[in-house]
Amino acid sequence: MWMMIKRIFTSGAKNFVRSGAVTFATVLVMSVTLMIIGSLIFLSAILGSTLTTLQDKVDVNVYFVTDAQERDIVGIQRKLEGLPEVASVTYSSREQRLEEFRARHEDDELTLQALDELADNPLGASLAIKAQNPSQYEGIVEFLSKDPTISPAEGPIIDSINYYQNKTVIERLTSAINATERAGLVIVILFAIASTVIALATIRLAIYTSRDEIAVMRLVGASNGYIRGPFIVAGVLSGLIAALIALAIFYPATWYAGKALSVWLGGFNLFTYYLSNFGLVFSIIMGSGVLLGALASWLAVRRYLRV
């Protein structure tokens, strides 16, 4: 048994080396396939990071009236933080908001002068709310407007909620994010299927040239498993080498793409992503390469083993 396995491996390796041109073509096609699969990993990483950056920028601000009590505000903050949908709630006091306002308008003399004319700080405190998911803002805002503590007897303490101003933007963003995710997934699957079919066809073509050989092996009295083995070994070898080529090409490719795209992608760098997730990318690419080579060879040889 062990002897037969050893023979299958040596014979597979020899076939791989000796059918040079065919092997070369197969490896090339497979590495292109694996590169497409790899760029799908990168694409989904880019999409994912862009989505989180975008989602991070969405928030809802609750502005309080100037005479709202800090403990009432903190009470609302506690309540909001208790909601499962809420990711974070940041409190800005009246003084902080004034400073922010000044900073934002530091080039605008007129506004600053007008602000100085006022005896009192005209800005109320605010809470910035971030939800776990953009679709949950609606419910959070509803929760706030229904809460009895925000409109006690002495008059409402909330001046405005900017959700209503941002509503359409938030909704559009939410649907755009979902559509992008779905479209990305469809493209991923289509590309993967197309490139796999091409690789399968190439390997089948490579084995087609060996069909007479397979017939001879059968006549000489080789069992089906013994005939199939070396082809599968050669297929797996092609897959391994194609995977190494793809992984090697990713190195300069992501370095270049990372440099060119990182500003555009809000600081996301493909190269650092590749390096830090090398284990994952390596195992996906290697795994697909080996699987593709073995499966394609197995299917192709099966055609010629039928009596």
Binding site: M3, S19, D212, E213, M217, R218, L219, V220, V307
Partner: protein, 226 residues
């Protein structure tokens, strides 16, 4: 040893390949099957190798019904028969040595036995110096000698040769027939098909003549008569 019992084969397109063929071949015989192209010689061999099944009748090899063998047993059966073809059918990316060794490897023989037997067989077919040549580097006669080496390496009970000299010049034809005769003298049954009158007549052995799927003559010390 080999017994065709009323074997009839009708091809898929409806043309008859063999009609009611009954032949018995004893151990250590040297049998030539002659006939025009399409007479059914190759079909007869395919029946023996279980490459194709008969429409009617049975083929026996040492009292086993060849076509009743399960697929998983077929390769064991085929190792009892050494095949030689008109077009040699060597594996192109294996050297002469490896082509012969392959048949032993496939049969699961240990490495030390292979290393001992293959050079011996290469010497027998007079190819000792060209062991590491690929088929494309060998002449037709040399390729056929490799094929014969491959056929006999597992010490089969029968050598079946389909037009073994069909692609060869007279000198090589003579050499190949000489080797086959030698193998027969060492105790192996030989069954060949041929067109070559000279080959058949010079052998002076049993000749079965076929025509349109039927056996028309069967002579113990036959001549090529058509």
């Amino acid at each position: 040893m080999i017994y065709f019992d009323k074997v009839t084969k009708i091809h898929h397109d409806g043309t008859p390949g063999l009609e009611d063929v009954t032949i018995s071949i004893a151990p250590k015989e040297f049998v030539s099957v002659v006939g025009h192209s399409g007479a059914g010689k190759t079909t007869l061999l395919k029946m023996l190798l279980a490459e194709d099944r008969p429409t009617d009748g049975t083929v026996y090899f040492e009292s086993t019904d060849v076509h009743a063998l399960p697929k998983s047993q077929l390769h064991h059966y085929r190792r009892k028969i050494g095949m030689v073809f008109q077009d040699f059918r060597l594996i192109p990316n294996k050297t002469a040595y490896e082509n012969i060794a392959f048949a032993m490897e496939a049969a699961g023989r240990p490495q030390d036995e292979i290393e001992l037997d293959v050079p011996h067989i290469l010497d027998l077919v007079d190819l000792g110096t060209k062991a590491h040549h690929f088929p494309s580097q060998l002449s037709g006669g040399e390729q056929q000698r490799v094929a014969i080496g491959r056929a006999i390496i597992n010490q089969p009970d029968v050598i079946v040769a389909d037009e073994p000299t069909g692609n060869l010049d007279p000198v090589n034809t003579y050499e190949i027939m000489d080797i086959l005769k030698k193998i027969n003298e060492l105790g192996t049954t030989v069954l060949i098909t041929t067109h070559n009158k000279g080959v058949v007549d010079s052998m002076g052995r049993r000749v079965i003549t076929m025509d349109r799927g039927r056996v028309v003559r069967d002579d113990q010390q036959g001549q090529y008569v058509l």
